[in-house]
């Protein structure tokens, strides 16, 4: 009965297994790296890791090919040719660092603003932000302004946390899951795992997305909405719930500002602000006593609706009443919105009732006692098992901030935030609302650190970073009247503004891990021109110096003057810190590290170490000792262990205290990294059952959060459906206060700063002729590619080696376009030529493609005739960083008017079939970039693994 052949069923798999953290994307899964004969034999998920619990996605499983990529940079490079030509000479690190120090030192001594330091997909923003602060420039941001600042800000200003990385659906208990506009998200594996759990339990999954792929494919119901209209859809759901009186009024009264009184005194400078007592406390009407009382008091009976007279004789009304008045109006009825959304009114009504049914009739009650902020013990924990999640499909529109808020409103009305089965915060969230601290940079002093961190949160016009005349202080115009709540900056505007010298020219653009001459930019061709454009007067490049750190030969490398080559993720220390975007779960805080598991075989250095070295050479205070010697001679690992942001709080929360006896807050532990390595490179703390839910009002949790330094006080966090900061900006637009928007922005600020969620037509749609540009054009992240990184990966590029434009089958048929046809796609910003694939599951008014698959010929050490360059394409050529001109000729940035979020998905296009016989090559094509000095040609046959072959 046994096969007569003998094969080795138990071969030796490894000499050693090392734990670290994946970085094939930003999801931060724990991995086990099997090493054999000094080579990486196999990478698998770490079963004990909080993020991925043993699984690994398609990218993570291809780490070997990324690590051994033939596109890896090998040595510091200095430009010798023209920008964009990729002609470099190899230089030594000492020379590279001396050069950078020389450039930057001069700037710091004269005008630190002339350094714009922007980073991309990195995970060390607490270090890079701090570095910018120490350098003294306000011109710092990371990729958040691209990604989802609408999502972040919309949530932070409403519920003190957000979807994205700040919270998660309760995958284990939700019975109904509503997903908006997500293809992949940063929680790549957790979402997949979560969906698997929901499906296994038979929960209903509804995906609202113009495109039916990926997560929408497994949804029980797909709502193929028209892009940019989710706000209407959600408000119609709210309309239904309010009319049917299917809302959690007890929750509203207890945890939200619904009963808070709003001043009704049109024209007054405080119209629309909360009525407050002498002590500044918001007021509500207490049914029990019939008086106006501090709305935050416990054991009162606040009225949800009603108009009341304030001591000063003016009227005030509850914010809930304003909310109900707005959304119960007929303009938000399903019938009124159905056509614009492309969703049948009956479906909207049904979904609303399903939500209510599950939230209320299928409510869950856990046997978990907990104590609220007022010290009242609750014997059980009630859950509304309706969970939601949303990402860039919502946020990457110019009406995204409000749509995000609308979704939170919907969740809150159902009582489904922070309860079992609902949406749950991951510590350190929730944070107080509005969030803090404020952005620094009002004053910039040569040779001195900035007053605080460059990025922060504005709460009113007085927090804006504008000169007295309204001129933006930051190069990206963040925190100006164009984007008052731009808490993540506007990375997509940096190059354009710097090139224009608007608001001022800069000297050095310093970038890290951002492919800004290609896929992470809008108007790619235009940006390439700006990067190479010279001032005819001086003959100098308009952006005189560009320093860039990349690990691979990306398109951006060709445009830098000085290249600081980084290590791969398997070669360095990293820190996934609570000060940054950690790996926490709803059930407890967690953080992690990356440790080198293999030695670099090239002359490369970890960028963070280089940054600290540069800081020390520049004499930045935090990085230098009194005697001028470097404070972190051991580089990044030294910093991870020894840096303290505030006393007792450093990059890592685990094993603090001299002997590692404590966590969260505690003295530096010199042995900390060893403890992490021993614990498989992560630290996780599990909250007590009674701390896990209703964190915003949970005494035990709030006290814990204070101890950990997450929040400053254990006061309850009251969810802000009606947003007072918004109203403050609006009042300024209406002419109140000393800081007011310039006239050309007045009307826009007034409209966009509605204290309750509104919907308006996305800006590009409103500005272009929709007959000339009848279609929406979107991108989606493919699950097996991380932006531009994946195409150098011999495995991943086989799965997705070029992209097509997907067109709805009905639309294609109507236009006489068939599978494989080539078409021209035109927007107000340009034209591209691409190949078509028809599909059924697509909103008929929408076309789309996979993001960042198109590559510039020659980049990434791919053969210039590779499909990525010849057939692949970017939609980015069509997307403009600027809106079509206003009547006065001025062009505003193509961003959300509240947060400055890049509006990638507002794009409108038309498509036209190419002439028969046209060459089957995508357009535009650019000159091939030559392989830079030092890189070997890529091999044709990849036999990786043959070294592990044993006799079989």
């Amino acid at each position: 009965m046994l096969s007569e052949r003998r094969i080795d069923l138990s071969p030796v798999v490894h000499d050693e297994v090392k734990y670290t953290t994946c970085y094939m994307c930003a999801c931060r899964c724990g991995i086990r790296v099997h090493l054999k004969d000094g080579l990486v034999r196999y990478i698998e998920g770490n079963r004990n890791h909080p993020t991925n619990k043993g699984v690994l996605c398609g990218k993570g499983s291809s780490g070997i090919m990324q690590h051994y990529s033939p596109a890896r940079l090998r040595k510091p490079l200095r430009r010798v040719g023209e920008r964009g030509e990729a002609k470099f000479e190899e230089i030594e690190w000492e020379e590279a660092l001396a050069l950078a120090t020389d450039w930057l030192g001069g700037i710091r001594a004269t005008d630190p603003k002339k350094l714009a330091f922007f980073t991309g997909r990195d995970q060390s923003q607490s270090l890079t932000g701090w570095w910018a602060n120490q350098f003294g420039t306000p011109n710092f941001a990371a990729h958040g302004g691209f990604c989802s600042v609408n999502m972040a800000a919309g949530g932070l200003y409403t519920i003190g946390g957000s979807f994205w990385e700040f919270g998660e659906p309760d995958w284990d208990r939700a019975k109904y899951f509503l997903l908006f506009g997500v293809a992949e998200d940063h929680d790549s594996n957790p979402i997949k795992t979560g969906l698997g759990k929901l499906k296994a339990r038979g929960a209903k999954v509804v995906s609202v997305n113009p495109i039916r792929t990926g997560y929408s494919a497994v949804a029980d119901e797909w709502v193929g909405i028209r892009p940019g209209t989710d706000g209407l859809f959600v408000m119609a759901l709210i309309h239904e719930l309010l009319h049917a009186d299917r809302i959690d009024d007890a929750y509203l009264v207890r945890y939200t500002n619904a009963p808070w009184l709003v001043i009704r005194a049109p024209g007054d400078p405080d119209h629309g602000l909360f009525a407050r007592g002498a002590d500044g406390a918001p007021l509500c009407y207490d049914h029990a006593t019939g008086t106006l009382v501090d709305a935050r008091e416990a054991n009162i009976m606040p009225a949800l609706v009603g108009t009341h007279t304030l001591p000063d004789g003016r009227k005030a009304v509850t914010s809930f009443q304003l909310l109900a008045e707005r959304y119960m109006a007929p303009e938000y009825s399903p019938d009124a919105v159905a056509e614009r959304c492309g969703v049948a009114a009956a479906d909207i009504r049904r979904i609303a009732m399903e939500l209510a049914h599950v939230a209320f009739e299928e409510a869950i009650e856990l046997d978990i006692p907990w104590t609220d902020w007022a010290g009242r013990r609750h014997e059980t924990t009630i859950g509304r098992p309706v969970a939601m999640h949303a990402m860039r499909g919502i946020s990457a529109h110019t009406n995204g901030f409000h749509t995000c808020r609308a979704i939170h409103l919907l969740q809150v009305l159902l009582g489904a935030v922070e309860c079992p089965g609902g949406f749950r915060f991951k510590p350190p969230f929730p944070k107080p609302i509005p969030p803090g601290p404020k952005p620094a940079g009002k004053t910039v002093t040569p040779g001195k650190p900035l007053g605080g961190m460059p990025l922060g949160f504005t709460t009113g016009p007085e927090d804006l970073l504008v000169e007295a005349d309204g001129t933006p202080i930051r190069i990206d115009k963040a925190y100006s009247w164009e984007a008052p709540l731009s808490s993540h900056g506007l990375m997509h505007m940096v190059i354009t503004n710097a090139w224009k010298g608007d608001p001022y020219p800069i000297d050095t653009l310093f970038m890290y891990m951002a492919n800004m001459s290609w896929n992470s930019t809008m108007n790619t061709k235009g940006v390439m021109e700006m990067l190479t454009d010279r001032d005819p007067a001086t003959g100098e490049y308009r952006i005189p110096r560009i320093i860039y750190s990349d690990a691979y030969f990306s398109e951006m490398v060709a445009y830098a003057d000085l290249i600081l080559p980084d290590t791969t993720y398997l070669e360095r220390w990293d820190c996934i810190s609570l000060l940054d975007r950690p790996i926490c779960e709803a059930d407890g805080p967690a953080d992690a590290i990356r440790q080198p598991v293999v030695e670099p075989d090239r002359d490369v250095r970890a960028f963070q170490t280089v940054l600290l070295d540069l800081g020390a050479r520049l004499g930045l205070p935090g990085m230098t000792n009194e005697d001028g010697s470097p404070k972190f001679p051991g580089g990044y690992p030294d910093y991870i262990v020894n840096h303290e942001r505030t006393p007792g709080i450093g990059p890592l929360a685990g094993w603090r205290g001299a002997a590692g006896e404590t966590f969260g807050r505690g003295a530096v532990n010199p042995d900390q990294l060893r403890r992490y390595v021993e614990n498989e490179c992560f630290w996780a703390h599990h909250l007590e059952p009674g701390q896990k839910f209703y964190k915003f009002a949970n005494r035990d949790y709030l006290e814990f959060a204070v101890h950990m330094g997450f929040i400053a006080s254990s006061d309850p966090i009251v969810l802000q459906l009606y947003s007072e900061p918004m109203q403050k900006f609006r009042l300024a637009a209406e002419g109140h206060g000393s800081v007011q928007p310039p006239d050309h922005l007045r009307a826009r600020v007034k409209e966009a700063f509605d204290p309750l969620p509104v919907w308006y037509v996305p800006f590009e749609e409103a500005k272009v002729d929709t007959d000339a540009f009848p279609l929406h054009a979107l991108t989606q992240r493919p699950m097996i590619m991380y932006h531009s990184w994946g195409s150098q990966n011999a495995w991943l590029r086989q799965i997705l080696g070029s992209n097509k434009l997907y067109v709805a089958a009905v639309t294609g048929r109507r236009m006489g376009i068939a599978d494989g046809d080539w078409v021209r796609v035109t927007s107000h910003n340009g034209t591209i030529k691409v190949q078509v694939k028809l599909m059924e599951g697509l909103n008929p008014d929408t076309v789309w493609t996979w993001n960042a698959i198109g590559k510039r010929a020659g980049a990434w050490n791919l053969a210039p005739d590779a499909g990525e360059a010849r057939k692949g394409f970017l939609l980015n050529h069509l997307i403009s960083e600027l809106l079509p001109p206003e009547s006065c000729g001025r062009r505003l940035s193509n961003s959300d008017p509240v947060t400055g979020q890049a509006a990638w998905f507002d794009l409108r296009v038309r498509i036209e079939k190419c002439e028969p016989g046209e060459e089957a090559v995508s357009e535009p094509q650019f000159p091939v970039i030559e392989r830079p000095v030092g890189l070997e040609p890529a091999p044709e046959v990849n036999r990786y693994g043959s070294a592990f072959r044993r006799p079989r």
Partner: protein
């Protein structure tokens, strides 16, 4: 299926070779051919040469030709192994038969027996070859009752045409040879016509619905291939010949493989030796081109079920 030249050459050459070998064996045994050294060298040389050449060519299809000897081992289950075994086995009687004929000028007695044995083994070998294809369930253009007869008849037919030519060349022609050629061409034509009719009209057993089990949801279509570029399977099984091109090639096959050889064979029957020889030569040339075309089509028109998963018809 990808029409690999090594395999096309193999099946056509060995088919003709076995056909010729069989006829030589039978006719010689029956005393219808003289045991003449020259004739023996040329005729048997041609037959065995075609067979050996075909077999050698088939090695070109192997990823590891140096291991070809292993292909014999699984005769209990594998038609390919059986074919290999029989091909080799056939060489034994055929070789001895050739010795008798060429060196001993004897095709009677034992050698007649060997001739008949060669013929029988040749037939079985061709049958095995055909069964390699006919046994493959995933390819309906092969997995049908017409494939084996077609292989057998076409082998016989190409052998017969060669026999007519050789017999004219050596002046040992007999009307029976000519009539056999005519009959085999007619039979071949009938079988192939039936084959083509069958593959054009028979409903495929499988479609994307049964391949994925998703047929219950409605029509199924491919949205994304697993990989962007063509993989091994698509290169090997995904070969597609345009309908119009295939139709043209079928017309060429009808003409070159059947119509012309039929006409020329009839001509060869009634014309004087020289003209008849020329006609026989032309018949061989035409049938040679025809059988290569036919065999190319046999592959090119065959569709593999696994291509359903790549959005192609079966």
């Amino acid at each position: 299926m990808h029409p690999a030249y090594s395999v096309i050459v193999f099946t056509t050459a060995s088919g003709a070779g076995y056909g010729l070998l069989a006829l030589l064996g039978l006719f010689a045994a029956a005393g219808a051919l003289p045991a003449d050294t020259g004739l023996g060298i040329v005729a048997l040389g041609l037959a065995l040469g075609l067979i050996a050449g075909g077999l050698l060519s088939s090695l070109g299809h192997l990823g590891r030709p140096e291991r070809a000897w292993r292909a014999m081992s699984q005769w209990r289950s594998s038609w390919l192994a059986r074919e290999g075994v029989l091909a080799l086995l056939t060489f034994a009687p055929a070789g001895l038969f050739a010795i008798g004929w060429v060196f001993l000028n004897d095709t009677g007695g034992v050698f007649a027996g060997l001739g008949v044995a060669s013929a029988v083994l040749a037939g079985i070998t061709v049958w095995c070859t055909s069964m390699i294809y006919a046994s493959l369930k995933p390819i309906r253009q092969w997995h049908n009752v017409f494939v084996t007869p077609a292989y057998l008849v076409l082998g016989l037919m190409t052998g017969a045409l060669l026999l007519v030519l050789l017999s004219r060349l050596f002046g040992v022609w007999q009307p029976a040879f000519g009539w056999l050629a005519v009959a085999s061409v007619l039979a071949g034509w009938a079988v192939k016509a039936a084959y083509w009719h069958h593959i054009d009209t028979a409903r495929p057993r499988s479609d994307l619905g049964t391949a994925t089990g998703l047929g219950r949801l409605g029509p199924v279509s491919l949205l994304e291939m697993p990989h962007t570029e063509e993989n091994f399977l698509m290169k090997e099984m995904g070969y597609r010949v345009a309908r119009t091109h295939a139709a043209k090639l079928r017309r060429i096959a009808h003409l070159a493989l059947f119509a012309l050889p039929l006409l020329l064979s009839l001509l060869a029957l009634i014309t004087p030796p020289l003209l008849s020889g020329i006609a026989a030569l032309l018949a061989v040339a035409s049938a040679g081109a025809g059988v290569l075309t036919e065999r190319w089509l046999f592959f090119a028109e065959a569709r593999h079920t696994c291509m359903l998963y790549y959005g192609r018809a079966a």
